[in-house]
Amino acid sequence: MIRYIIRRLLVAVLLLAIISLVTFGIFFLLPKLAGQSTDDLAARYLGREVTPEGLAGVKAKLGLEDPFLVRYWEFIQGIFVGTDYKFGTSVTHCPAPCLGYSYRTNEPVMDLLLDRAPVTFSIALGAAILWLVAGVAIGVVSALKRGSFFDRAAMSVALAGVSLPMFFTGLVSIWLVCRQLKLLPTPRYHEFFDNPALWAQALILPWITLAFLYAAMYARLTRAGMLETMGEDYIRTARAKGLPERSVITRHGLRSALTPIITIFGLDIGLLLGGAVITETTFSFAGLGQLMLQGITRSDLPVALGVTMATGLFVIIANLVVDILYAVADPRVRLA
């Protein structure tokens, strides 16, 4: 067991290293390959007249002239032991894990991430609970009552659900619920510890919109999985043994039908924690996804890099948790 976990951990670390290298390459190598000089890059960060001294200052500050691997090494170093940054006369120590400083606001990227994370986490976790419960429940019931009115209605709605782009349902729901019917105020984020009621009120619409899409997908997946499992021989055996139907379904059917769902859930939640970009854009919530978009449009590369790294980390952790859960539940996995 311990060996299995260690092996998965090593794979996770390797994955993270690959993701960081690729991301770093995209941000720092691609512009150069595309023919942009360091002067071009530096000029982006000068607000006022571009002078040689100004350019040199920016280049030195951002380390634009250093070779790629040196910069990657410094970045990795920052994560593990921290870095010192020079602003004018003052030297600021950025303690590990340091993801660098925003080119635009001079804020440590780590602070920005920590600042934005609660917003994204609130959206993702709330929606995840909703969609997991609703999606799986609907999928199971549909599979068991296959062909019934409920099954057909639920699957039609689910098909519509996976066919509706989320930014459209989001906009329509704000328009309908907040503007036309005025059932809710326009969503604006509140800190949970500030006022839990307002926090929940602000998140209802994003949760429902996001969960609607995923619940539809999960309901379809669960139904398919259940149908397949319930046709397997061992289910027939269980029934033949005279086990009560309830136990057949929950102990045997559901258990194996849910296995792939949990894998996908791990992946989905990891990706969403790293920035529900579309939800955040649609509802104008300042979460990690918005931070990423901002970083990209304002050429604030350390910020964009930080968000991507964080997302990679979340995905990997979510996968790791899923893997370990499997190993706990099913001893065969450890040997695989």
Partner: protein
């Protein structure tokens, strides 16, 4: 100007419209709350004048300030906001209407005293002014503020550098972060604690305008050192205004509270509020809605409301009476690059002047309340403005016949292909670019639209002649407002051949006519304002004859004037936005 919301100085729309507004609201001093308010009342008078004290003013903003450091800011909204906690040598008068364009002493006790050759300007500080920590302000603090903000590009990269441009610097002073000994900085002298003397390398008749820039607000050298100094000073600005900066979290919030050591003889500001809270990073339509639903008072960005709120404000008379639609002093224009083929040929430029549909441009900027159709470089809000129209084209709708005539003259009877650039973050500029594309295609000119990030648009894109040529940017969407409200402040940066430099020039049309350069050199030696204005008009005409700038709109903004706020007026010294330094809340 390099950034739209930056400085903009506009005298009130002169003449007819001003008179109409005055007539409509029956003068400026009427008392009372929102009940008796009228549309555009804030344009000409102080609305809800009151000395009622207390309360917390809640400000909102979609983006963030470029900085809270008075030495490192360039947007008009930041300059306006900085006056809450920083006093510059001079400022604009706190009165309603165009009177607030008048320069008035602030930290200084009087206007600048020029030498006969206009190369030495002397200011005396008002006695008894203290920092928020109780230490007295001296002339050294002003000198230090100028030194750090203008000579340290490696730290302070956001503000203008007029002082570096005009002050003499015989020993190439490198800024206080590299050279903390201020004696090496010869551009400013401090013969005693109350006197600041500016030594210019060239005559400059309009130096008093520069003294209104927040960079002249004093900074104690001791507070700008170590980990708290440099870029981090923005979070710990030492206040001289009625409020002090308690905290600044970039992208999130700014908090101000009363400054106990404020010099109450300051007539340019009021200290009525207990606290001011700015919430940053709020979605655009949320900013609009919250001003109207009472959960906040004012949008501090100062660009006015967006499309949805505009429609709501203008179609409901109860809301409309609490709205102002002043001139912002901005000119929205499209620059034609004189370096890019076939625009090296003047007739090709004139063809575009005739072909463009300015009404489409106007729709893009919000219709008639977004701006008036323009035909000159200088907007009517400047005293130097003179109306003329060298390329009349059906009231802005475009004249394809004339355009084709000139296309034939420039040897491209069947049109040609060119590119137009706009700033990614600006949907209005995008719509404007699309409108130009559509109107030029009617005469056979094919246009490809290109977008670039707002940051660095002037620095590395349209302001870089090499970039413009490499990417063949024949047309460039741009906006401009003066850093200070004179013809010089408006025209020099965008039309003076002398303003051309390697990169980062705002003369993006690449106007290099020696005749215009000569006029700029001469005009700053004229002591008489009226004479200077005549020269500015000549320059305006010369630029239009050259056809390298297509004036599109004299911009206007639509503001919601929250009836809860007191002492509300449009300050034309700051892009025609609501003055922040005098606001209070009604009981």
């Amino acid at each position: 100007m390099r950034r739209t919301t930056r400085r903009g100085i506009a005298v009130l729309a002169t003449g007819v419209s001003a008179a109409l507004v005055l007539a409509a609201c029956g003068g400026g001093d009427d008392e009372g709350g929102g009940g008796s308010a009228t549309f555009n009342q804030g344009n000409t008078s102080i609305v809800n004048p009151s000395d009622s004290k207390g309360g917390t003013l809640r400000m909102l903003r979609t983006g963030d300030f470029d900085s809270t450091d008075p030495g490192n800011m360039y947007y008009a909204t930041a300059w306006n906001f900085s006056r809450l906690y920083a006093r510059s040598l001079l400022t604009f008068k706190s009165v309603g209407g165009q009177g607030n364009l008048e320069i008035t002493p602030d930290l200084a006790s009087g206007l600048g005293q020029p030498s006969a050759d206009l190369k030495t300007w002397t200011y005396k500080l008002r006695p008894g002014v203290k920092f928020s920590d109780g230490t007295p302000v001296t002339s050294k603090d002003v000198k230090y503020a100028i030194a750090r903000s203008n000579y340290s590009p490696e730290v302070m990269e956001k503000g203008p550098v007029y002082f570096r441009q005009y002050l003499s610097n015989p020993n190439k002073y490198k800024g206080p972060y590299k050279d903390p000994n201020l004696d090496n900085f010869k551009g400013v002298e401090t013969p005693d604690d109350q006197t600041v003397v500016f030594k210019l390398s060239q005559p400059f008749a309009e130096f008093d305008y520069l003294a209104t820039i927040p960079q002249t607000a004093p900074v104690p050298q001791a507070a700008d050192a170590g980990a708290k100094g440099g870029v981090n000073y923005a979070k710990g600005v030492v206040s001289t205004g009625p409020y002090k900066l308690d905290s600044y979290e970039p992208g999130k919030s700014i908090k101000l509270s009363k400054n106990p050591n404020w010099d109450a003889s300051d007539t340019n500001r009021k200290q009525l509020l207990d606290n001011i809270e700015v919430q940053l990073g709020v979605a655009p339509d949320e900013v609009d809605n919250r001003q109207m639903d009472g959960s906040a008072e004012i949008d501090v960005a100062g660009n006015g409301v967006n499309a949805a709120a505009r429609s709501k404000l203008l179609s409901d008379p109860e809301l409309k009476k609490n709205a102002d639609n002043p001139n912002s002093g901005f000119l929205w224009y499209t620059a034609i690059s004189r370096q890019v083929e076939p625009f090296t040929n003047k007739d090709c430029r004139i063809a575009v002047q005739y072909a463009v549909d300015k009404t489409g441009y106007q729709n893009a900027y919000g219709g008639t309340t977004g701006g008036d159709i323009a035909s000159t470089v200088m907007p009517p809000s400047l005293k130097a403005h003179q109306k003329f129209d060298l390329y009349p084209n059906n009231n802005g709708k475009g004249d394809p016949v004339k355009a084709k005539e000139h296309l034939a003259k420039c040897g491209k009877p069947n049109g040609f292909t060119t590119n137009i650039s706009y700033r990614t973050e600006r949907p209005k500029e995008k719509a404007a670019a699309e409108s130009i594309k559509a109107s030029l295609e009617k005469v056979g000119i094919k246009v490809n639209i290109k977008n670039y990030p707002e940051d660095g648009y002037t620095g590395g894109v349209v302001g870089d002649p090499k970039f413009v040529q490499k990417n063949q940017l024949g047309l460039m969407i741009y906006g401009w407002a003066a850093d200070f409200p004179s013809g010089f402040g408006f025209l020099q940066q965008i039309t003076d051949p002398g303003a051309l430099k390697g990169t980062g020039s705002s003369n993006i049309s690449h106007i290099d006519l020696p005749d215009i350069a000569k006029k700029f050199q001469d005009v700053v030696q004229l002591k008489d304002e009226a004479e200077r204005n005549k020269v500015y008009q000549e320059i305006d005409k010369a630029v239009m004859e050259d056809a390298s700038i297509i004036p599109m709109l004299y911009a206007k903004n639509l503001y919601y004037r929250n009836p809860k706020m007191t002492n509300v007026f449009i300050n034309y010294g700051y892009s025609g936005m609501i003055d922040y330094a005098n606001l209070g809340l009604a009981k």
